[in-house]
């Protein structure tokens, strides 16, 4: 409908859409925009005559073919790295996942036991050894790096070596700790070796590594790789190739038309960065972006005003809980004066009407949490009953524990000490702050005095790490595999580590033993049984009140046709997302044409 670089023509659409109020609004918008541009040109400062080439269709072949189009995603922050072993942010992961490839990808069910549900990606096929202590992956014979060099088994072995090398200091290294080695059987076959059999052998090899090009990265000293300039221009083997990264502004990828899985259906992917959430959403509403990965409740209501847009919801791996500190913040050798008693923790859990709190904060965009795992994890058992909401029961329990309101000031005391504590929340999370306010009111009902403390994120994390907190609105983004994240957040070993993520210092040997047992079950049903027992144990110990899981609601332009949304990565199948030829707009017409920069 529009020529590249020209002013959008003021024409009526031949579709019936123009008769709708929305179409009239759009026409008015086009008219206003054209008028404004004409006026701005007339002022002379803007040399509006442009180039004749501006008005030529840049890639008419692309515009009419089945594949084509540009998808612009608006995100709140820049990527940190684009090289997988160093990536820690969501944005970095999105781009690294698309530019690089895993050997195999899990299905949306996110099974992590064995290879059930996995589909081949960079690997064409794999073979388990008879004793299951090795898996041989055959690299796809047509796989190529984006610079044209073939991908080989040496690249696979190199990736493992680089990621696990202590000099690299990759956050992914612990995830590969159960793999003994990776060897090269022949130029196209890499073999993963294990010292013992365990359920997630395949998951670790296939999911935890994105394969890197040896010929590019081998020349850099591992200890200097994090700061090397070349890792800012990644050369991968994924369905989109890297074009440019303008820090703080955008990242651009373009389709690899020679990819062994076939040409992506979109030509180009762009991430634009808007640090302010409202401004980011405004980009979607104004038509400057096609996709935003997270919409808050008010923006979901607003999106209904734009017939061009729709929402796209998916499960997520994020959950939020009130994390109790079980040790005294002033002297960690002693139990916490309030939360050291499991009875008090239980009573407080009984005082929380989670259903109404979640409904209040999220309406239908939050799900009641089921415990330390989330629904999207394939081994999660969602049938464990939580501690029920029972105000009278909570009061009676506190009475029986000796916490009574002797002076009738509304706050219970025991041995002269009030039932008072602080709940901390990061000031960057409106939802967590709102939830903390509701909890404050609910705890007041049972005679507990809560002070809210909203802190800037780094300060808040530092407070938790140093154990100087009473209770915190903590959040976790979990892995599809429950093993690592469960151990890091709740195991005794993590509690003993001063820098561990078990900030509340919860420790129960029975829980640890059950998690250990679950992690070696080769049969998913058996693993689920052990996880259930472990979760019943921890939920009885109440080291936290698990509050809610987020439902991820994205905003998307209707012209984009998404497929295969996965809880851990909405972008997993982005190579198959498409824009119908009759739905394309000006920016879709660029095609694959490179630009001289």
């Amino acid at each position: 409908m529009t020529g590249r670089g020209g002013i959008e023509p003021f024409v009526f659409s031949h579709t019936p859409e123009w008769r709708t109020p929305f179409a009239l609004k759009r026409i008015m918008k086009t008219y206003l925009r054209n008028t404004f541009q004409l006026v701005s040109c007339a002022f002379g400062a803007l040399a509006c005559q442009g180039d004749a080439s501006d008005r030529n269709d840049p890639d008419s072949a692309s515009a009419t073919s089945a594949a084509g189009g540009t998808m612009v995603t608006t995100v709140g922050a820049d990527a940190d790295f684009l090289l997988p072993p160093f990536v820690a942010t969501v944005q970095g992961n999105q781009i690294a996942d698309i530019v690089y490839e895993r050997l195999a990808e899990p299905s949306p069910a996110l099974n992590t036991v064995g290879d059930d549900g996995f589909t081949a990606e960079l690997a064409e096929k794999w073979t388990w050894s008879a004793d299951s202590l090795s898996i041989a992956f055959s690299v796809h014979p047509r796989a190529r790096w984006h610079d044209g060099r073939p991908v080989t088994a040496r690249d696979v072995a190199f990736t493992y070596d680089l990621t696990t090398d202590p000099a690299t200091a990759s956050g992914d290294a612990p995830l590969l700790s159960q793999i003994d080695s990776v060897t090269v059987r022949d130029s196209m076959t890499a073999v993963f070796w294990y010292g013992k059999r365990y359920p997630e052998q395949f998951f670790d090899a296939a999911y935890q590594m994105r394969i890197l090009p040896e010929h590019i990265l081998s020349g850099v000293k591992r200890s200097e790789l994090r700061t090397a300039e070349l890792i800012r221009k990644p050369v991968g083997s994924g369905r989109f190739r890297f074009v440019r990264w303008v820090p703080g502004s955008l990242v651009e990828l373009v389709a690899d038309t020679t990819h062994h899985k076939g040409r992506p259906k979109l030509d180009r992917l762009i991430w634009t960065i808007s640090p302010d959430y409202n401004a980011s959403a405004a980009k979607l509403f104004a038509g400057d972006a096609d996709f935003i990965e997270y919409l808050t409740g008010d923006k979901i209501t607003e999106i209904a005003k734009y017939p061009r847009l729709r929402t796209l919801s998916s499960p997520s791996l994020d959950h939020v809980y009130l994390h109790f500190n079980l040790r005294d913040p002033k002297n960690p050798a002693r139990p916490h004066p309030v939360f050291g008693d499991v009875g008090v923790r239980r009573a407080l859990a009984m005082a929380v009407d989670r259903a109404s709190a979640v409904q209040n904060v999220f309406d239908s965009l939050g799900l009641l949490s089921k415990g330390p795992m989330v629904r999207a994890q394939s081994l999660a058992d969602t049938t464990i009953p939580p501690i029920p909401f029972n105000l009278d029961g909570a009061r009676r329990l506190l009475d029986s524990l000796g916490w009574t309101d002797a002076n009738n000031d509304g706050v219970r005391e025991k041995n002269g000490k009030p039932l008072a504590f602080t709940i901390g929340a990061p000031s960057s999370s409106t939802n967590r702050m709102r939830m903390a306010v509701l909890l404050q009111g609910m705890f007041k009902e049972v005679g507990a005095q809560v002070t809210l403390k909203n802190e800037e994120m780094t300060t808040w994390i530092q407070g938790m790490q140093s154990g100087k907190f009473d209770a915190a609105m903590n959040a976790s983004h979990l892995d599809p595999s429950p093993v690592a994240s469960t151990r890091q957040t709740w195991s005794a070993a993590s509690a003993r580590n001063p820098a561990g993520r078990n900030f509340g210092r919860y420790a129960n040997p029975r829980f640890d033993a059950l998690i250990d047992s679950a992690s070696v079950q080769m049969n998913p049903a058996n693993a689920r049984r052990f996880y259930r027992q472990a979760h019943e144990t921890i939920m009885n110990d109440v080291p936290a009140i698990w509050l809610y899981e987020l439902v991820s609601v994205a905003g998307i332009d209707r012209r984009i046709e998404p497929v295969g949304i996965r809880a851990d990565a909405w972008w997993a199948e982005i190579g198959d997302w498409s824009i119908r030829a009759d739905q394309r707009i000006a920016r879709d017409s660029i095609g694959l044409r490179p630009v001289a920069r």
């Binding site: 442009g50 200890s223 808007s274 640090p275 920016r587 660029i590 630009v595």
Partner: protein, 323 residues
């Protein structure tokens, strides 16, 4: 005058050094460090975090870190930015021109419009025009900058669709356009952030200008000029306006650091990759080297702004020049 400038320059060096030292201590006293936020990521183990700290010498005693920093800075090496994952020099080299463009245009527009509005109000003192302009400027002056920016974005970008919603250029088409269309695109992307900033700052300038002109209008030399038969235009422009520029020069000196410091809210809301955003992100992520570099640049500019204001005073007021 030369001796005066030399003395001020020496004092500026001391100010910059003190500001850098003070900031170094303050930022290290703040809770957390550049790798604390990694604790939110379940994949990053404490051991890996410790390794990162060691790699950047953050595990060394604070005095050692300080002397290393000062020594490197003296050689022109601002270090490595933990949040940008590249050298601080590269990060600044990208951000400074962007902020210069935005704030340069915005400051020129703000002062030009503010001075004209203030002069108009002073001339029309007590009239409906004066009251209307005063009310409007007070309204914008009292508005929070982020609110004004968001409302502008909502009206002109989302509702009317007249202007782009953010960024410096169109993220995709810009590189495919010819020179003329590119210039137009850049100008269009400048309109909303510049207009938001100008609305706020020009309101303040106008109020200062009006007040200064009214003060001058009652001075003896103005009466003398009129008595000598000077035209009203000459009295206003040559005698009142010129002398009323002194407080505006002070204001300009104070605003000068914005040229490189940028405006955090305007840059955040309009996704402008400038120094304001860079500084805010650096503080939030405890990016010590970047915070230090921004502070050093800021203190250099504050010193330069004050020096510039003093020099401009001398040009504007012959009495100061003679003294």
């Amino acid at each position: 005058m030369r001796r005066f400038i030399a003395r001020r320059l020496l004092a500026s060096v001391a100010i910059v050094f003190l500001a850098a030292t003070f900031t170094f201590i303050l930022i290290h006293l703040a809770p957390g460090d550049p790798f604390s936020a990694a604790a939110e990521n379940s994949r990053i183990t404490p051991e890996i975090q410790a390794q990162w700290r060691a790699a950047y010498a953050l595990d060394r005693p604070l005095p050692e870190q300080y002397f290393r920093y000062i020594a490197n800075t003296a050689k022109g090496d601002f270090g490595y930015s933990f949040s940008q994952h590249r050298s601080v020099g590269a990060a600044l080299a990208d951000a400074i021109p962007n902020t210069l463009l935005l704030m340069g245009v915005a400051l020129i527009a703000s002062f030009a419009i503010g001075i004209v509005l203030g002069a108009l109000q002073a001339r029309a003192r007590g009239t409906a025009l004066d009251r209307t302009l005063g009310g409007v400027s007070l309204f914008f002056y009292s508005m929070p900058d982020f609110w004004v920016a968001l409302v502008m974005l909502l009206i002109f970008s989302v509702w009317l669709g007249l202007l782009p919603s953010g960024g410096m250029t169109d993220p995709l088409m810009y590189d495919y356009w010819g020179f003329g269309r590119r210039m137009q695109d850049r100008a269009l992307h400048l309109v909303l952030p510049v207009a938001s900033f100008t609305l706020l700052v020009s309101a303040a300038v106008a109020r200062y200008q009006r007040s200064a002109m009214l003060d001058m209008a009652d001075q003896d030399f103005v009466r003398t000029a009129r008595a000598k038969g000077a035209t009203e235009r000459r009295v206003v422009v040559k005698h009142i306006l010129r002398n009323a520029l002194l407080p505006i020069i002070t204001l300009l000196g104070l605003a000068f650091p914005l040229l490189l410091g940028g405006s955090v809210f305007i840059e955040r809301i309009f996704s402008w990759p400038g120094m304001g955003r860079l500084a805010a992100d650096a503080i939030l992520t405890r990016d010590y080297p970047l915070v230090m570099a921004v502070v050093i640049i800021g203190s250099v500019l504050v010193s330069a702004g004050n020096l510039l204001a003093d020099v401009l005073y001398a040009f504007a007021d012959p009495r100061l020049r003679r003294s």
